[in-house]
Subunit: 135 residues, 2 copies
DNA sequence: ATTAATGCAAAATCTTTGCACTTTC
DNA sequence: GAAAGTGCAAAGATTTTGCATTAAT
């Protein structure tokens, strides 16, 4: 189990420290791709797991993982960032009541009629967020 | 000029106080629909205009306007909320370098392949954000 | 008069940073 | 042992709240 996390960090060019291994393991091992966590959530999970990590390190680590392409940041509500273990092309279902996020494969979705991209700019990415509420 | 703002507040069921009139006037008068402001931006503008408003009131007012359907909140980056004077059905172009937001009419855009909506939920809205960066 | 809104400062969140200490290579 | 990472607490940034004062109906 630790082996996968170790390789993942090495491949991303990040030193496999105890904290990073622990967090990577929590994020990726035994979970389907498409987990969504906030810093607080991961911190709580790490603590519950007996890991000795500080909240600051969780924030730093999430940012490093994102920078290294291991995670993707998703912004759906003001005040909190979510991080997604699915780094592929995809979109999101957002349940406004619970705050839950769910991935939607980009393959399934077709978007037509996007405006012309201004000269000198390029599309970094297109985010589709379907906001749901209880009926 | 003040007349339009006055009517707008009355119609929305908000008391036309000095601060609300000032802010509504700055937001809506003489600007094309589709202005985007943050609380800080509007606060600075109000101050430059000689208005006596506190930042807290700007935040409260933006939230009240949003609740009353005069504005729409747009979340594109962590840490800041943007408010859009266009409350119609539309999407956004976001320039990552400058932080600029630009509206895209929803008429132009067609989205196919959205996943089935879970039972008991309904679509509150679909946000499409095209993130652009300098090439 | 009654009721609502404002202002300020304080508090609440979420996130980043500085620096001494620890760990990895 | 050099370089990088961690922890903690402190600082930043954004947003909300409590409460006395002021303004609108």
């Amino acid at each position: 189990m630790g082996a996968a996390a170790y390789a993942r960090l090495r491949d991303a060019g990040l030193r496999p420290t105890r904290q990073r291994l622990e967090l990577a393991s929590l994020l990726f091992d035994g979970h389907p791709r498409g987990r969504h966590v906030t810093a607080e959530m991961l911190f709580a999970e790490a603590r519950a797991d007996g890991a000795r990590v500080s909240l600051a390190t969780v924030y730093n680590t999430l940012n490093q993982f994102t920078g290294a392409g291991l995670l993707r940041e998703v912004v759906v509500e003001p005040g909190t960032s979510h991080f997604d273990t699915n780094t592929g092309d995809h979109h999101h279902l957002y349940f406004e009541d619970s705050g839950e996020l769910r991935d939607v494969d980009a393959d399934r979705i077709e978007i037509k009629g996007l405006p012309p991209i201004p000269r000198g700019a390029e599309v970094a990415r297109v985010d589709v967020i379907v906001r749901l509420r209880r009926k």
